[in-house]
């Protein structure tokens, strides 16, 4: 390949190799040849291709887990409260709901792994830098506790062990319901990461609304007041946190209002309004309470799917990665001298 020759005068025709000049004029004629090469501060990308790789997590496994994990965690709190305040029917419903939800979750989580047979590798290490590792250990404690609590409540046996398990599940439940917010925020996905301040409150509120909704669905009218209160508090907190999050995120919040994600978010808001109003006004009517509970469960699920798809949409469009980063870079380094 080489075109150089060895002569008595030394090497001739040597290619410049790594010293080569780029495809620009070799000669400079004073300042005249200099062009302002600073591109306009508009959005450019590589053929519109995304900068980051999209999550490979699937629906319904992962948004379903966020919903069911929240439902389970908050239901464990509701179950413990119901037991402590002498409402065995609400306690049974909440504990059974928690166990059912977390069992389905575990199936979904395992199914979503690329190598399901290696599920237990999750417990190979403990890493605080990995929310998924932390979550695995939360689940490792929570799942047996929720199982024993539900089994004891449903069979009426081993009430002391059941009480201890109920307490343990109630302590781990809030962690289970909120760590998933850290899990998705701790990524480079713009619509997830940029909401990290409010996301745990959205998740906690959504979890409370779901658990309250399940309580409304399962408990007899007139004995569902704590469930109703929790559902209303949760729905209100979720709505407030979501509003605050999307306002603060600016253009990165666009995916929450567009396309499939936007449809889920709107459905969630409508269901939450209906469920909230029904829970508030129809408290004496068993059917209205149950329908309200179902609507609140649906609202909680829909916001999880909405958030999941908003993240996917923000990862797929390079705009949401490039524009905020350009703004950040250009504002932190004013007058970026392209030349040096």
């Amino acid at each position: 390949m080489s075109t150089s020759d060895v002569t008595r005068q030394g090497l001739r025709g040597v290619r410049p190799g790594r010293e080569a000049r780029p495809g620009r004029p070799a000669r400079r004629r004073g300042r005249r040849g200099e062009q302002a090469m600073v591109p306009p501060a508009e959005f450019t990308s590589y053929y519109g291709k995304p900068v980051i790789n999209s999550p490979v997590w699937h629906s319904p496994d992962i948004p379903g887990y966020f919903f069911l994990g929240g439902l389970a965690g908050a239901s464990s709190l509701l179950g413990a409260g119901a037991q402590a305040s002498g409402r065995p029917d609400l306690a049974r419903a909440a504990k059974a709901g928690a166990l059912g939800a977390i069992s389905l979750s575990m199936a979904g989580l395992t199914h979503d792994l690329g190598r399901p047979a290696r599920f237990l590798n999750m417990l190979r290490v403990i890493k605080a830098t990995s929310p998924m590792s932390v979550g695995s250990w939360i689940l490792a404690g929570y799942v047996p506790a929720a199982g024993v609590a539900a089994a004891s409540a449903l069979t009426g046996r081993a009430s002391r062990l059941g009480a201890a398990a109920t307490a343990a599940a109630a302590l781990l439940g809030p962690a289970l319901a909120t760590y998933t917010a850290v899990l998705i925020s701790d990524t480079a996905v713009p619509a997830w990461h940029d909401g990290y301040r409010e996301m745990p409150f959205v998740f906690a509120g959504s979890a409370a609304a779901a658990a309250g909704g399940l309580g409304l669905l399962a408990a007899p009218a007139g004995r569902n007041a704590p469930a109703r209160n929790l559902a209303l508090l949760g729905a209100a907190a979720e709505a407030a946190a979501f509003e605050r999050m999307t306002r603060r995120m600016g253009m990165v919040a666009e995916p929450y209002h567009a396309g499939r994600a936007g449809a889920y978010v709107r459905a969630s808001q409508v269901l939450a309004l209906l469920g909230g109003a029904g829970a508030l006004l129809g408290r004496r009517n068993r059917t209205v309470a149950a329908l309200s509970g179902a609507a609140l469960l649906g609202a909680s699920a829909a916001i999880r799917w909405g958030g999941f798809h908003a993240g996917l949409a923000s990862a797929a469009d390079p705009k949401y990665t490039v524009v905020p980063q350009r703004e950040r870079r250009d504002s932190s380094r004013p007058a970026v001298a392209e030349a040096n």
Partner: protein
């Protein structure tokens, strides 16, 4: 800057090794892509014509550990600057940028931070490698990477990416892509040495009038603590499909945990309030 290998617990590690990819001498031959695939036995991931200039590889992923980007730009060539030295009017010229992209082997690597199984680890050379016998395909590293490097292999389920030829490094050899590069656009060596070389090259190019030349990922003060594989670019990073100001997502993780702890406490308080309100309502 803390050496990432030493920070990971290696005693007296060898110098941190990396790549300096000087895109100004890349000729788009894709020898790096081929050498990488051959050496690492990376499977075929389909052949398709994309219409993206000469780029039919599209981007980095589980089965593409080196990716050559091709960018065709029409931009004015300054007057009086044609190759024959003839004076003339400014005219539209075609500028063809080529760049071989690769895993950045970040100083603060998000993929490694978030991996729940410990499959991703820091080598003694300061590089970041997946252990394929540990990875369970949870997929967390994929959206964590701010550069879109690592991905899940279809039909395999595990996450794969550039190893900076860990096997070759261990034997004192040059990684396959750098070995195959005919123009030394891909330069391999101790990172300190590469940084000096890159600074000298940048000075040379600025001296030649290539004012738009800039280094990317060489700054230990950037959002990922500097890249083990950095670049000399002739345009903005996003033109090459690179993020302009990547930040390791785990930088904000302590704050995330604090917010989650507050939310979890709030959830407990809400549950307590739900029962207390009912109790008060009954009494009042």
């Amino acid at each position: 800057m803390a050496d990432p290998a030493a920070a990971s617990g290696y005693h007296d590690p060898p110098p941190r090794m990396g790549f300096f990819t000087d895109t100004s001498v890349c000729i788009g031959c894709k020898a790096c892509e081929v050498a990488c695939k051959e050496w690492n036995a990376v499977p075929d991931d389909g052949l398709a014509f994309t219409g993206m200039s000469y780029d039919n590889t599209v981007g980095l992923g589980a089965d593409t550990w080196r990716h050559v980007a091709f960018i065709e730009q029409r931009r004015p060539v300054p007057a009086g600057a044609d190759r024959d030295g003839k004076e003339g009017e400014a005219e539209d010229g075609l500028r063809w940028l080529m760049a071989s992209d690769v895993c950045k082997h970040c100083t603060n690597a998000a993929c490694l931070d978030v991996c729940p199984t410990g499959a991703l680890f820091r080598t003694e050379f300061g590089t970041v490698v997946v252990q394929e016998d540990i990875c369970n395909g949870c997929g967390y590293c994929i959206p964590a990477c701010p550069y879109g490097v690592i991905d899940q292999r279809k039909g395999d389920g595990r996450a794969w990416k550039c190893t900076l030829c860990y096997d070759r490094l261990g034997a004192g050899m040059t990684p396959a892509c750098a070995q195959a590069c005919p123009t030394e656009s891909i330069q391999f060596g101790p990172l300190d040495e590469l940084r000096q070389r890159a600074a000298a090259r940048l000075d040379q190019l600025h001296g030649e009038g290539a004012a738009e030349a800039r280094l990317y990922g060489e700054d230990p003060g950037d959002g990922v603590g500097g890249d083990g594989a950095f670049f000399l670019l002739l345009d903005e990073p996003e033109v090459y499909g690179l993020p302009p100001d990547p930040v390791v997502t785990t930088r904000d993780l302590p704050s995330m945990w604090r917010h989650a702890a507050a939310a979890a406490t709030g959830l407990m308080a809400a549950a307590a309030a739900a029962f207390a309100a009912e109790w008060l309502g009954r009494r009042g």
